[in-house]
């Protein structure tokens, strides 16, 4: 029979003991969740297996609490844990794209410093690899983006679209000051002629 991914119990010493399957709840997510609770409770982690298959979290409230409050604390912890598992998964999925963005930004600044040719060949191969990964992701969201773009274009291309500009912020500099500057110049020229 398969064991549950999560088991909880409250012992006689008013400690919450949660056993988690590390295949479903990664250790990094458990660390982050435990860290978020160290102001409310004392937390201790233990594990079973090599590599770890089960993580045992012991939560002991810092102040005396009744059973209802203990249950609330346990539920809060489990909700926070789910939140952190999701964050961890998203961070893991987007890792290559994040690295690609940082790499591209660095390349922009390095162009000015004349880097070696070897650097560019390495970067090209990395770019190709990452592009193929990002293309797969783009295809998934392509339809959604197209719909959004169509809606945006409709808004921009609306001929009846007007907006108020009481302070004249949208007036270009040339229109605003060029006429006055021309007047000043012509006055100076006239004075010189006289």
């Amino acid at each position: 029979m398969r064991k549950a991914a999560l088991e909880t119990k409250i012992d006689k010493q008013n400690e919450i003991i949660i056993t988690l399957d590390s295949a479903i709840y990664p250790l990094e997510a458990i660390y982050n969740t435990a860290y978020n609770f160290i102001d409310q409770a004392y937390l201790f982690l233990d594990g079973k297996g090599e590599p770890i298959k089960e993580v045992i979290v012991t939560i002991k409230p810092k102040i005396n609490t009744d059973k209802k409050e203990l249950l609330e604390l346990k539920q809060e912890f489990l909700n926070e844990l789910l939140d952190n598992v999701l964050r961890y998964q998203i961070a893991k999925e987007n890792k290559t794209i994040r690295e690609f963005i940082v790499g591209t930004a660095l390349l922009g600044s390095l162009n000015k410093l004349n880097p070696s040719e070897e650097f560019f060949t390495d970067l090209e191969s990395l770019t190709e690899e990452l592009t193929s990964v990002s293309q797969n992701k783009e295809e998934d969201g392509e339809e959604l983006l197209e719909n959004e773009e169509e809606e945006e274009n409709e808004e921009v291309l609306d001929e009846n679209f007007t907006f108020e500009d009481p302070l004249g912020i949208a007036v270009p500099w040339e229109e605003k000051f060029q006429a006055q500057e021309n007047k000043d110049n012509s006055k100076k020229n006239n004075k010189k002629k006289k």
Partner: protein
Amino acid sequence: MKNNTHGVIKFNKNIYSEKAIVSSIAAFKHLAHFDIQQKGDYYLVILSKINPQVKDVIKDEFNNYVLAKIKTD
């Protein structure tokens, strides 16, 4: 007043790093005498000569501190 209280904390090697434990010991050394040993999958942190004013909470606070060290290091 005698100052001979002691205790042992078992940290799983696959969960807690030695670096986090050692730096936590450095932060708590003014409250007790610490000794660290290895036994199987565990680091054993042996506390002795614990300051009586903190003897009830030092182990729990130490655990939390090590956990925070793992996260922030």
